[in-house]
C-alpha cells in the first residue's frame, strides 16, 4: 500500500511520538500560574483530568479517519474490483473499531470522574456509539456473505453509505444539541470540539496536535501491518481452495 520508506517513517515516527505524548502528557506538572513551557495551567474543575485531552480526542479523530479511509478504499474497490482495495478497506474498518473502542473507554472513564457517570448519552457519546454499531454491522454483513466478490461489493456499498451519514453525527448533530462535550449547543467557551478557547494554553495545544500526528502515524503503521497480514491470509485461502 505505501512505499517501504513511508512505512519505516510511520513506524519510528509513531513509536517516538506516542511515547513522547504519553510521557509529556502525563508528567508535565500543573501550575496555577504557569511560568515556563514545561508547566500546564490548572483548568478549574478539570485539573489533572484535562490530560485526557491528549489521548481521548486523538483516538476519536483516528476512528473517524479510519472510517473515511475504509469508505475511500470501498469506492476504489467498486471502481476497479481489485481485491487488494477490499483488503485495505476491511483492515481500516477493523482498526476503526479498535480506535472507537479506545475512545469510548477513555471517554467513559473520564466521564465517570468528571460528569459522575460512565455514560450520559451526550450527543458525542451517542455518535461514537453509532460508529461502533456501524463497524459491528459492517462485519456482520461481511460474515453473512460467502462469495468474495459479492462480499467486497456489498460491504463496500455499505461502508460508503454509512460514510455519508457519519458527518451528520460527528460534525452536525453534536453542535445542534445540548450536551456535555465542548462545542455543544449553548456552550460559548469554544466553537468546536477541538476547542479554540483561552482555557487551552499554547503548550497544551502543541502537545495536542503532536498527539494527533502521533496517533495518525500509529494508525497508518498498524493499517500497513494488517493489510500485509490480510494479503497473506488471502493468498493462503487461494492455495487451499
Amino acid at each position: 500500500m505505501f512505499g517501504k520508506n513511508r512505512v519505516t517513517f510511520a513506524k519510528f515516527g509513531s513509536v517516538i511520538l506516542v511515547s513522547f505524548v504519553l510521557v509529556a502528557g502525563l508528567a508535565i506538572p500543573l501550575s496555577p500560574s504557569p511560568q515556563s513551557w514545561l508547566e500546564f495551567p490548572v483548568i478549574p474543575g478539570l485539573e489533572d483530568k484535562a490530560r485526557n485531552l491528549f489521548f481521548h480526542v486523538p483516538m476519536s479523530w483516528t476512528a473517524v479517519l479510519a472510517f473515511f479511509i475504509s469508505a475511500v478504499y470501498g469506492i476504489r474497490y467498486l471502481r476497479s474490483r481489485d481485491i487488494d482495495f477490499d483488503l485495505i478497506s476491511v483492515s481500516a474498518a477493523g482498526l476503526g473499531l479498535l480506535f472507537s473502542l479506545l475512545a469510548t473507554v477513555t471517554g467513559a472513564l473520564w466521564a465517570r470522574f468528571n460528569w459522575g457517570a460512565f455514560w450520559n448519552w451526550d450527543p458525542r457519546q451517542t455518535s461514537i456509539f453509532v460508529l461502533l454499531l456501524i463497524y459491528g454491522a459492517y462485519f456482520g454483513l461481511r460474515s453473512a456473505i460467502e462469495n468474495e466478490e459479492k462480499r467486497g461489493r456489498l460491504s463496500a456499498v455499505y461502508t460508503i453509505l454509512a460514510g455519508f451519514t457519519v458527518p451528520f453525527f460527528v460534525f452536525v448533530l453534536p453542535r445542534m444539541m445540548a450536551g456535555l462535550h465542548p462545542g455543544a449547543l449553548g456552550d460559548d467557551t469554544g466553537k468546536g470540539p477541538l476547542f479554540e478557547t483561552k482555557m487551552i494554553a499554547p503548550n497544551m495545544r502543541v502537545l495536542f496536535y503532536t498527539s494527533l500526528v502521533a496517533f495518525t502515524l500509529l494508525f497508518l503503521w498498524l493499517l500497513n501491518m494488517r493489510v500485509r497480514a490480510a494479503r497473506l491470509e488471502y493468498q493462503q485461502s487461494l492455495h487451499r481452495s
Binding site: 467498486l78 456501524i134 460508503i160 455519508f164 451519514t165
Partner: protein
C-alpha cells in the same frame, strides 16, 4: 424521461403484485396494531410526556419499516425475477421504482401509526399541525430512501432477516434523532419556525442518502 417512465412501470408492477397478495401492507398494519397495543399495555395508566410519546412513535415506525420495507427486493430474489428485471429495466429505473413504492408504503404506514397513536394515547395530541405533517412526510422520505438501498443489499446477501435492522439502525439514527425532536416540538405546540433546524437536517439527510443510493445502486443490483 424514459427512465422516469420505466421507473413508473416498475412502481406499477410492484403495486400490482402487492395488491394481489396484500402481504406487505397487511403485515405492516398488523405489526403496527400489535406494537401500539403492546406499548399501551406497558404504560397503561401513566401519562407519558410528549418526548416519550414521540420516541415511542418513531420506535414503532422504525421497527414496522424494518419488517415490511425489505419485501420489494427480497421478493424479487425469492421469485427469481431479479434477473428478468435486470434485463428489461435500467438499474436507475429499478431503484427509483422501488423507492417510490417504498415511499408510498411508508406514508401509508405513518398515517396508520398516527391514527392509532391519536386513538390509543390521550396524550398524543398534535398541537402544531404543520410541523407534525412536515416531519412525518420528511421522515417517511428519508426512511424509505435509506431502507430501499439497504433492502437491496440484504436481498443480495441472501435475505438474512435479522441483518436488516442491524444494518439500517446506524444509518437511520441521524434521521430518527432529528425526527423525534421535531415531533416533540409539534406535540408541545411550539411555533412552526422552531423546528427549522430539524427540517434542514432532514432535508439534507434525504438528499445525501438518495444521491448516494442512486450512485451506488448499480453496484448492488448488477451481479
Amino acid at each position: 424521461m424514459k427512465t422516469l417512465q420505466s421507473s413508473y412501470a416498475v412502481l406499477l408492477k410492484d403495486a400490482q403484485s402487492e395488491l394481489r397478495t396484500r402481504y406487505a401492507v397487511n403485515a405492516l398494519l398488523m405489526f403496527v396494531v400489535t406494537a401500539a397495543v403492546i406499548v399501551q399495555l406497558a404504560i397503561r395508566s401513566e401519562a407519558p410526556s410528549p418526548s416519550v410519546l414521540s420516541g415511542l412513535f418513531w420506535v414503532v415506525v422504525f421497527f414496522a419499516a424494518m419488517s415490511g420495507l425489505s419485501r420489494t427486493f427480497v421478493s424479487e430474489e425469492e421469485r427469481n425475477t431479479a434477473m428478468t428485471l435486470q434485463l428489461v429495466a435500467s438499474p436507475t429505473a429499478v431503484y427509483f421504482g422501488k423507492l417510490f413504492f417504498n415511499i408510498v408504503l411508508t406514508l401509508i404506514l405513518n398515517a396508520a401509526i398516527t391514527f392509532l397513536f391519536t386513538v390509543v394515547f390521550p396524550g398524543f395530541e398534535v398541537r402544531q399541525f404543520e410541523t407534525f405533517v412536515l416531519t412525518v412526510v420528511l421522515g417517511s422520505l428519508g426512511l424509505a430512501s435509506a431502507s430501499t438501498i439497504l433492502a437491496a443489499i440484504v436481498a443480495k446477501a441472501g435475505s438474512k432477516g435479522t441483518l436488516y435492522p442491524v444494518l439500517a439502525f446506524p444509518i437511520l439514527i441521524p434521521l430518527l434523532m432529528t425526527a423525534m425532536k421535531a415531533t416533540t416540538r409539534a406535540l408541545e405546540g411550539e411555533p412552526f419556525g422552531a423546528a427549522s433546524a430539524e427540517f434542514q437536517v432532514l432535508i439534507s439527510y434525504i438528499m445525501v442518502i438518495t444521491a448516494g443510493s442512486y450512485l451506488l445502486f448499480d453496484y448492488v443490483w448488477k451481479e
